[in-house]
Symmetry: C2
Amino acid sequence: MAAPRPRSQRDPDRRERILVAAAQLVARRGYHTVGMADIGAEAGIVGSGIYRHFDSKAAILIALLDQVMDRLQSGAARIVSAAPDDEIALSALVRDHIRVALQDRSVLAVYHREVHNLPEEERRRLRRRQRHYIEDWVHVLAPLRRDLADGEQRLAVHAAIGAIQSTLFFRSGLAEARLAELLDEMAHACLGVTPAPRERSELLMTKY
Amino acid sequence: MAAPRPRSQRDPDRRERILVAAAQLVARRGYHTVGMADIGAEAGIVGSGIYRHFDSKAAILIALLDQVMDRLQSGAARIVSAAPDDEIALSALVRDHIRVALQDRSVLAVYHREVHNLPEEERRRLRRRQRHYIEDWVHVLAPLRRDLADGEQRLAVHAAIGAIQSTLFFRSGLAEARLAELLDEMAHACLGVTPAPRERSELLMTKY
DNA sequence: GTCACCAGTGAACTGCTGATCACATTCGAA
DNA sequence: TTCGAATGTGATCAGCAGTTCACTGGTGAC
């Protein structure tokens, strides 16, 4: 009930611009090196103006990391619920993660490095979300790798994701399609499964 | 000429203790969250006492990261110069990296996350050392993967190392030997080569 | 037109933490 | 024993960066 918020006036998506600015700056220079003034400048306002949109500096980081976890988690949920079998599901999970890594490169890099700088409680919450996400992979991998114990499957998943995310920390200079292809191969190699045909698993992914 | 330094008096290896303390604390809580007081306390002295051993907080981090790069680089140099062929050399490189990852776990984790918090010049220097190390791998991989272009080989090396280092960021609970074995498999899988027999490549590694 | 309100500004505050310094203590050498 | 350099201590400094706040100006509703 009631009108749906009078919505902002000056710049309707200033909040989003702040997040993008923060993601890029923090990815390049690190959370503590970047000041509120820097983020504000990049977003077109003054440092203290950020407090009209976020409660604190930490709140920006939280919003940022939650955002990237949202993308990963929602993708995984869709794939797991819609895939016809485990092989296709696993390949789709791999490819979706690669998509996010290439698309939200800086945010994912920030996630990987700056979790420490969160207040205890928020850190725990995000860690929990991350564990859930990993668990989605493990569930799908388990029937395909009966030769591995539970902890070993989990290790394989971490390694596969580690291989994919290695691309966050240097510039390969390769064309994006080729890059995705190679990461796909190597992630599957870590998991010890053969990639499902692309056409089939890609139907489960979000295109945008 | 001249006597080899009068050596310290109170605690001969206080400097080393500071480094160890810093490595553990920073690995767990992050560079900025850890204060000089914390590091000092862990090393058995008061915060300001650290300045008898290091010029600044950054100097501790630099010494720490240089130390881990020393281990990686010296291992790689020895392997590359002594290996009878490329397959054995590459497997030895993989296994040496795994050894360092398991042995200097916290320091390597710190390296991966806290490079940002270094003064520009030092950061560049360390990045350069890291590139050299990667280049050692690429040189050895190149003749074994002629199907890959130059940048593609480099990507494979990064992915393999990424897979290995994924173990730095969660506790698998696996026995160390089994853990090393699985990481070995997956790193080789990323590189697209079959592991050389363990006995042969391990002769090239430092045992301690 | 006017009125309330929201986004943005800039100055000022504050707490924290890395760094300094003068002083105490301890050990090794002469 | 005595002297001096190496360590360690506690108080203090200094500056940065996150946060607060009073104020301004433009916007949309009535």
